[in-house]
């Protein structure tokens, strides 16, 4: 009597990883392209909402070289500092808890003056942000620098006011203030 043999099973079964690698590559590409490395200029803060705000243009212009973002935000909690009011997302009115951040560098209201003057540019320096000719209205050389103020929604107005004053004194007249566009509500 002949013995029946079952089907032979091939032992070296390997998972086909190629589709997974393909998908992983696509995911990686998506996240790499989506990651905005220019975030260093922008500090972590919550902007106030305004529906009439003008959205920024994506294309680069010649003015971008002389453009600086100034952030006004609350100091973050650390081992040596903590603010229970801010931690509860309430309005902190301790003026020294608020700081000015320019390209990840922190300043207070006293130390930022020198920085603003440096940004405005010095006379005589060929690479300076200072305009080459004397402005007929201001009767002095104004700065080509554009200052973009991004202040947290709870930031004290005094800090922004001080920044505007310092810009005016340093000859920077191109000032803009940042706000967030509210999400578009879907009509039912």
């Amino acid at each position: 009597m002949a013995r029946k043999h079952g089907p032979t099973v091939k032992e070296d079964v390997t998972a086909n990883l190629i589709p997974m690698i393909d998908i992983m590559f696509l995911l990686l590409l998506f996240f790499m392209l989506g990651a905005d490395m220019s975030q260093r200029e922008l500090a972590e803060l919550v902007l106030p909402m305004a529906d009439t705000v003008v959205e920024e243009k994506k294309e680069k212009s010649d003015d971008d070289e002389f453009r600086t973002t100034v952030n006004v935000c609350h100091r973050s909690d650390s081992a040596t500092f903590n603010c229970p009011v801010n931690a509860k997302n309430l309005v902190c009115r301790q003026m020294d808890h608020w700081q000015i951040v320019i390209r990840s560098e922190e300043f207070d209201l006293e130390t930022v003056k020198e920085q603003i003057e440096t940004l405005a540019g010095r006379d005589g320096d060929p690479d300076s942000a200072r305009e080459p000719d004397i402005d007929p209205i201001a009767r002095r050389k104004m700065s080509r620098r554009k200052i973009s103020i991004r202040a947290d929604k709870f930031a004290p107005y005094g800090h922004v006011q001080q920044l505007i004053t310092l810009c005016g004194l340093a000859g920077i007249y191109k000032v803009e203030v940042g706000a967030a566009k509210p999400p578009i509500e879907k009509k039912v």
């Binding site: 590559f25 009439t52 930031a155 006011q161 007249y173």
Partner: protein, 156 residues
């Protein structure tokens, strides 16, 4: 998963070990996924400073005052902002917008098209309150918005 041959093993007998590559891609994916943040739509209000006034002290005091002034004060006890339009306390945005609208319409009837909205806020007022006033003025089509400033630092 020791090694995976690309294609049929008969056609390509050399197996490429992709384990290390998959590991690295996984790490990169996790890194980018964790650091990924959906960007909020941001915009700007152009607030270019006047070249002929602003930090040099008060202007012509004999001129007739033509302005739409909104005053903002910080109430420490109530932890809220008090808004005043002329002598009236304004609580809602709708009410404030209506006041700005009426005043602006009156000015337009008189042929004064460039009367500014002046935001006169105390230093401790939250920035969002100032932006709200700017936003309401912009909604009414007023382009001329000014910030009331104190005396220059040297004079204080």
């Amino acid at each position: 998963m020791a090694g995976v041959s690309v294609g049929e093993s008969d056609e390509n007998p050399v197996a490429i070990n992709v384990t290390a590559m998959v590991d690295i891609i996984f790490c990169l994916c996790v890194f980018y996924m964790c650091s990924f943040k959906f960007k909020q739509l941001e915009g700007k209000f152009d607030s270019w400073l006047p070249k002929d006034k602003g930090t040099g002290g008060v202007g012509d005091t004999t001129a007739l005052i033509q302005e739409i002034r909104v005053a903002l004060f910080w109430d420490d006890a109530g932890q809220k902002t008090i808004r005043r339009f002329l002598s009236r306390e304004v609580t809602s945005d709708v009410e404030l917008q209506q006041f700005i609208h009426d005043q602006h319409a009156d000015n337009l009837r008189l042929g004064k098209t460039d009367v500014p909205v002046i935001v006169d806020a105390e230093a401790r007022v939250p920035w969002t309150e100032v932006i709200t006033v700017i936003n309401l003025a912009k909604r009414e089509g007023i382009a001329n918005i000014e910030f009331a400033l104190g005396l220059p630092l040297q004079a204080k």
